[in-house]
């Protein structure tokens, strides 16, 4: 077992839909070692995206504890402002997030997007072009997001994440909007770079093949498996 990067204990979250309370996540516990990957699966609405949002502090849990990068966040713990600031700092420097699409600022070129993300994380933006080259889109660096294909945009999004040298990468259906061939290419690059740079990866997906590439598997539709 590698050193623990992330430890989740008794995590619960509910939403209110109309007059009804919907329990999306209930007493969820798991751990992720450094450099390990975890696939989150489950039907639509099973709480995959909610869990990713909880793991990067974009949403707050009702109960439970999240220990990440030597910081512990308890539900209802520290003052809201201090906790939000701590999550912001973590997201800025250690957590890379990739969505299904719209990961880039449309007003900036691919290179400028990567530079922006690197600068926010406090990394040297000079390497931004290299990251694009490593993802095979170096020649598209000056193009804008609307001038490249969906697969190229997702590669640029991955370049942004790797340029910030994250400890943990959260990917929410990163190939969901791509065709099979492009999705395979992006998946290959994703696992390759994740393995090479040793960051943790949590991947929410419907794609069983993609999920199979991960070391761990968490099906939110069958929490008894946890």
């Amino acid at each position: 077992m590698t050193e623990s990067l992330l430890a989740v204990r008794g995590l619960s979250k509910h939403f209110v839909s109309g007059n009804e309370a919907v329990q999306v996540i209930e007493k969820l516990s798991f751990t992720l070692g450094q450099g390990e990957s975890l696939a989150l699966t489950g039907r639509s609405g099973s709480g995959k995206s909610t869990l990713l949002n909880l793991l990067c502090g974009l949403e707050l849990p009702d109960a439970g504890t999240i220990a990440l990068c030597d910081q512990v966040f308890e539900a209802g713990g520290a003052a809201a402002r201090r906790r939000a600031a701590a999550w912001s700092a973590l997201r800025r420097q250690h957590i890379g997030v990739v969505f299904q699409e719209a990961n880039l600022m449309p007003a900036l070129s691919l290179l400028e997007n990567v530079r922006l993300r690197a600068q926010l994380a406090g990394r040297d933006p000079a390497n931004s072009g290299d990251w694009l080259a490593r993802l095979g889109i170096g020649e598209l660096a000056q193009r804008y997001p609307d001038q490249v294909s969906g697969g190229q945009r997702q590669r640029a999004a991955l370049a942004m994440v790797f340029a910030m040298e994250p400890a943990l990468m959260l990917a929410d259906e990163p190939t969901g909007s791509l065709d099979r061939h492009t999705a395979d290419e992006v998946t290959r690059v994703l696992f390759d770079l994740q393995a090479r740079h040793g960051c943790g990866l949590i991947l929410a997906t419907h794609d069983a093949e993609l999920a199979a590439g991960c070391q761990q598997h968490l099906d939110l539709g069958h929490l008894s498996n946890v």
Partner: protein, 765 residues
């Protein structure tokens, strides 16, 4: 399916099209409100202008100089004079002015006698006679005669056609005027109000267009779907035309009603001021009718909203690249500036204004976008670079409301400067013309030399006494086709006149005038005949032509005619004196001491005297009210433009909410993201305010230095008011702050990501 489609089309297309507004009811409400407010504002301005024009026309007719009968011996008229004139067959109407012990002046009239004026009774003051005399300000002469009066005076008016030869001996004709004429100053203001109306129409059309196009952009997918179902673009367009026509009709009618209501509410104050000035009910409550504003606004709404659809083919042919458009805008702008500078007539100035506004409207978004890209390129910090790039996107996407705001700000700047300049100038001019506290007419046949000698003798013993004698008449300019000019001869050239503002002056002008070694002319004459200070002017005063140097040019905003100011001592014996008066500030002895003495010297029972302070108060009342109206209208336009930008800004920012959310995902604290949002919004609105400034200053210059001289022969001083710039700047920043505040609330909610790749089109950057 294809076979059934034609049967269902009449129901299916409108349901499909209008389903957009079921999903976005607020957008429909916003569009309806925008049409309503735009109609209200424009109708208000145009209704008010036509009301003001009708009122001033009425006032001009009412106070136009009429003729009165006076006694040769200068004695006040009495009832016996009326009787003897009527017995002699002269059509005279008694006009008894009564100042009660308390209350305002009343005028007693004999309605039966008024009818001998024929057509004259249809206009102005005489119109009141067709109404029951309700006691204010016109009363039956019998009632007026019965009032316990502080002062009363009988005038006997005769029709315009009356000749001196019709009168019995011992009587002669004299001009009768109830009060001073607002003259050209009023016309000038109406012209500017009309120009303001056109600008308001332009701005509201831009705002309407921006709101409608926003909705249209959101409906493109629905149109594409309908097209796939076999509905032709032509059918969709017809339904869209019908849709906007119905919406326009529903909103325009109440908008016109509201506009008229607004104008009536604001205009009643104007009416009161006008009535106060002329002592008679002059306010013409009726402006324009209903049909014209309804049709105009319907046309404006349809053209503003669907102009592109109607001219689609031309638009495709005329579509220009950004560079070509910027080039064309520069050409329009330059042409407008040059034409405005050199314009020989008013229509050219209006064409120039249209060109400059078109050029500025096209150039501004392009220029700001380029500036933003340039700043982005120079920014080392990626976040700043992103901010400037976002600014460029915002400017491009919010072009119409931004340009509308720029125009509105420029218009408000210009109108504010104009109004303030008008106020200052008018006050100053009125103050200099009414410098003396009292104005006393020299009765016909009276010896004004004796009065002058007496006043000179009093000078030493009456501290504070200031006076001069004014002789009025005509002169010819032999060098200008024997053009007739008014002569304004003053003796002595003393302190009451030396404070006059001069537009141009020689060295020590008043001293030289006092020595009788030159003349001064009014601005109208100087402009019309291209005469400047130092030029020698041939002047025929009486039978003597005389060349005299021009010592100064003075502004005379109320009079269109040429006027020459001379030292009264230089008038030849043969000069035909039309009118004489004394301007007196009595000082310590008081006016009664002077009037008693003058009555004794001239052997008359009463003097025709005017209290200049009251006149000044009444005259400024009309203009103050008009200025307040103009300010209110321009501010309403600005508020409309600001609201539109606020609404559009909010809607558009909402479509960018995801990208601000991305910054939060990337670890930027909410507070910092809100800060970025604030800077962006302030850059946007503050930048527009800065760009509106030169346009506003230029428009001010056009109004005061081009339109007024070309229309009326005189110009106003060009003044700028930086404090007002600051106010508008703060207002613009407040709009930016509001957008940022609304958006910040939006940031607190979960943002929706653009749902498909098609959302990432070129318009996004």
């Amino acid at each position: 399916m294809k076979g059934f489609l034609p049967l269902f089309l009449p129901f299916f297309i409108p349901r499909a099209l209008f389903s957009h507004y079921r999903r976005h009811p607020l957008q429909l409400v916003a569009l309806a409100i925008m049409i309503l407010l735009a109609t209200m504002l424009w109708t208000g301005v145009s209704h008010l202008t036509s009301q003001a024009r009708a009122s001033l026309n009425q006032s001009e007719r009412a106070v136009a100089e009429r003729k009165q009968v006076v006694r040769d011996d200068g004695q006040a008229l009495v009832v016996e004079d009326f009787v003897s004139l009527r017995l002699a067959g002269v059509c005279v109407m008694p006009w008894l002015e009564v100042t009660p012990e308390t209350g305002n002046r009343l005028v007693g009239i004999d309605p039966l006698a008024a009818h001998c004026f024929g057509d004259g009774v249809e206009t102005g003051a005489f119109q009141a006679l067709d109404q029951p005399l309700d006691g204010k300000p016109f009363v039956d002469i019998h009632s007026a005669a019965g009032i316990s009066a502080r002062e009363s005076r009988l005038f006997l008016l005769v029709p315009e056609i009356a000749q001196a030869t019709d009168l019995p001996s011992n009587y002669h004709l004299k001009i009768f005027s109830t009060s001073p004429d607002t003259g050209e100053l009023g016309d000038s203001f109406l012209l500017n109000l009309e120009a303001l109306g056109v600008l308001v129409l332009l701005i509201t059309a831009l705002l309407l267009r921006s709101v409608y196009l926003l909705g249209l952009a959101q409906r493109r997918d629905s149109f594409a779907l309908l097209h796939r179902f076999g509905v032709s673009p032509g059918q969709v367009q017809r339904w869209l035309v019908l849709e906007i026509l119905v919406l326009a009709l529903v909103c325009v009618v109440p908008g016109v009603w509201l506009g008229r209501w607004l104008a009536a509410g604001l205009g009643s104050g104007f009416g009161q001021a006008l009535d106060g000035l002329f002592d008679i009910p002059l306010y013409a409550g009726q402006g324009q009718g209903w049909l014209t504003p309804v049709l105009v606004m319907l046309a404006v709404v349809v053209i503003a909203c669907l102009g592109d659809l109607l001219l689609l083919r031309f638009r495709e042919r005329l579509s220009l690249s950004v560079l070509a458009r910027a080039g064309l805008a520069m050409v329009l702008l330059t042409a407008g500036l040059v034409i405005a500078w050199l314009a020989p007539s008013l229509p050219w100035v209006f064409i120039a204004v249209a060109l400059v506004f078109a050029g500025a409207g096209w150039l501004t978004p392009t220029a700001v976008t380029h500036l933003a890209h340039w700043r982005a390129g120079r920014s080392k910090a990626s976040l700043a670079r992103w901010r400037y790039r976002e600014l460029a996107v915002l400017v491009r996407r919010l072009t119409l409301p931004l340009v509308a705001l720029q125009f509105a700000l420029a218009m408000v700047l210009a109108v504010q400067a104009l109004v303030t300049t008008f106020e200052d100038t008018f006050d100053r001019w009125l103050a200099q013309r009414l410098e003396a506290a009292y104005y006393i007419e020299v009765p016909a046949g009276a010896d004004s030399d004796k009065a002058a000698d007496w006043l000179v003798s009093q000078q030493a013993s009456a501290p504070g006494l200031q006076w001069h004698r004014v002789i009025r008449g005509h002169a010819q300019l032999p060098d200008a086709g024997s053009q007739q000019v008014d002569v304004f001869a003053i003796t002595p050239v003393g302190s009451l006149i030396r404070g006059w503002t001069l537009l141009e002056a020689a060295d020590r002008p008043w001293e030289t005038l006092g020595a009788g070694e030159g003349i001064m002319i009014n601005e109208q004459l100087a402009r019309r005949e291209n005469i400047g200070v130092g030029d020698s002017v041939q002047l025929r005063l009486g039978d003597q032509p005389k060349a005299m140097p021009v010592l100064g040019v003075y502004p005379d905003y109320g009079r269109p005619v040429g006027e020459v100011l001379v030292n009264g001592e230089t008038l030849p014996e043969t000069f035909d004196i039309r009118f004489e008066s004394l301007s007196v500030t009595p000082g310590e002895p008081g006016i009664t001491h002077i009037t008693d003495a003058l009555q004794q010297i001239w052997g008359v029972e009463a003097l025709s005297m005017r209290d200049n302070g009251t006149i000044r108060e009444l005259a400024t009342g009309v203009f103050d009210q008009t200025f307040a109206l103009t300010r209110a209208m321009t501010l309403l336009t600005l508020i409309l433009a600001a609201s539109a930008l606020l609404m559009m800004g909010w809607v558009f920012f909402s479509t960018r909410a995801w990208y601000f959310r991305l910054l939060v995902v990337w670890g930027l604290p909410q507070r910092e993201v809100a800060g970025q949002l604030l800077r962006l919004a302030l850059l946007l609105t503050g930048g527009i305010a800065v760009l509106a400034l030169p346009l506003g200053i230029w428009l001010t210059w056009v109004l005061v230095h081009r339109i007024n001289p070309l229309a009326f022969g005189w110009s106003l001083p060009m003044a700028v008011y930086p404090a007002f710039w600051l106010e508008l700047g703060i207002l613009s920043l407040a709009i930016g702050l509001s957008i940022a505040a609304l958006m910040r609330r939006q940031l607190g909610k979960p943002a929706v990501a653009p749902v498909s790749a098609s959302a990432l089109t070129g318009g996004e950057r």
